[in-house]
């Protein structure tokens, strides 16, 4: 119940922490793309190796990343059930009454699970190793070229960072309100349809009202400190690529080249 701390920034001192946030974001996108290169199990092992390496270099304990998977276990079980029921290709490996399981169904599920594993661990490493403020600046800088097409990249980056900043707050508020209503006899787990609707209302209404209040307070606080959306803003600390980032980019490019090569020649 209190484990909603997934993906929270861990202020450690490591190689990965010191990388430019842009480098990390680009590497994440690269990995997300690389997952879809059809390079089979060899490819997945290469990517997983790369992730393991980043994990070691980031000094983040593997158990923290594994914590992020707990909520996903249900989803994976669901996936397996759906896949097994829907996919009827390949060799029949098990049959009992109307239940028929084909090897392709198992294989496909495994593929999807590994892809999820890769994407989630990569994004968890990114958020755990980057200060949210730096991350925003990184997103803003990466979006900057779109500014030429009148894309409001600064506003979008600000919105993303506020949204990220408020996720834990809103989860906290939700729990507080749920506890208050539980004390008034609301049962969020059981009950008839009518009671369920009441229960949801008793959560949603206060949640909206507190969120709106928080948004209003935040807007006033920002305005009071001179924030004007359209005006250019200066920074106290600017981002700069250094030699480490170039090395990581190089490794990223090599990774993709390797995967493409595997997809053509090794399978």
């Amino acid at each position: 119940m209190n484990n909603f701390t997934i993906g929270k920034y861990l202020p450690l001192d490591s190689f990965v922490h010191k990388l430019d946030p842009r480098t990390k974001i680009i590497m994440l996108l690269l990995i997300m793309g690389a997952v879809f290169i059809k390079s089979g199990w060899i490819g997945y092992f290469i990517i997983l190796g790369f992730i393991a390496l980043s994990l070691i270099l980031s000094k983040i304990k593997i158990s923290y990343v594994l914590n992020a998977f707990k909520p996903l276990i249900m989803m994976m079980v669901f996936l397996i059930v759906i896949n097994v029921l829907v996919i009827k290709e390949g060799n029949l490996i098990f049959s009992y009454g109307f239940i028929k399981i084909y090897d392709k169904a198992i294989l496909d599920t495994l593929y999807i699970s590994v892809r999820l594993l890769i994407m989630i661990s990569a994004s968890t490493i990114l958020t755990m190793s980057s200060n949210p403020l730096d991350l925003t600046v990184g997103i803003e800088k990466l979006l900057k070229p779109l500014g030429r097409f009148n894309f409001p990249y600064e506003d979008v980056a600000m919105m993303i960072s506020i949204a990220l900043r408020f996720i834990p707050t809103i989860i906290e508020e939700t729990q507080k309100i749920m506890n208050a209503q539980r004390s008034r006899g609301v049962d969020y787990e059981e009950g008839k349809i009518k009671e369920k609707i009441q229960a949801v209302l008793s959560l949603i209404v206060p949640l909206f009202s507190t969120s709106l209040n928080m948004a209003e307070d935040l807007a006033s606080a920002m305005e009071a400190r001179g924030y004007i959306p359209q005006e250019p803003r200066t920074r106290y600390r600017d981002l700069k690529y250094n030699i480490k980032d170039y090395i990581v980019f190089l490794i990223g490019v090599l990774l993709v080249v390797l995967l493409v090569w595997v997809s053509y020649y090794a399978i």
Binding site: N2, K61, N67, I177, N179, A180, S183, R184, G185, P206
Partner: protein, 277 residues
Amino acid sequence: MPIEIEKLNFIYAKDMPFEYTALKDIDLKLQDNKFYALIGKTGSGKSTLIQHLNALLIGSSGKIKVNNFEIYTDKKNKNLKNLRKEVGVVFQFSEQQLFEETVLKDVMFGPLNFKVSESEAKAKAIKYLKLVGIDEKLFEKSPFELSGGQKRKVAIAGILALEPQILVLDEPTAGLDPESAKEILEIFFSLNKTIILVTHDFDLVYSYADEVIFLDNGNLITKRETVDFFTDDELISKYQLELPSLLNFQNKLSEKGFSFTKKHKNLKDLIKEVIYE
């Protein structure tokens, strides 16, 4: 013995890098129909402790028994609703829990959840709204149109209407004007229930509480009779606690040569003794 807590521990974000032990080996026994004040610095674990009393938080280890209802820390608890009917909790910032269309409906919400009939729920709602000093004119208004203090009073009425045996209050008077704060405490005081009040206001503690429970950094430092607590100079100076103003006043009078038979918990009694002795 309505509440017995033994070796209770609680850890926030267990197994995460930012895990935090908020309660450490708490042992506590509370009696029926007494008024307890739970005090301690910000972050000492007061809110965490009271949420264990109606099983909103379940300890990492230890034992809790409330009116013979045992809350298990090592297996799944059943029928928590029965427990929550016995223990009414008014939360810090309780005004945030309002959601119904009208003030009256919001107060009726709790009793209805506990299967009280519609007419009885309404009667209770009216009774307790009046008790906390909400004017009848406001009954049909939306709770969102009320002032902060009025909202707080409605939220308190919402818990009182459950008529629990044990009433737990987390800073119910923070942000209320001194007059309303006093009125509300008088109401709690007159209910003749077991009351556990979390507060930073030592003047209120001194006048109303039978006993003080003092937490520091997740540890239970002491639980004892209110006057005993505030006259333990060693403890007061060790934790740099401020004395209640009435006690301060009486001490100053004593320094000037007045003598008293006992420490007085309200100004009237103090003045009486000064005049008639």
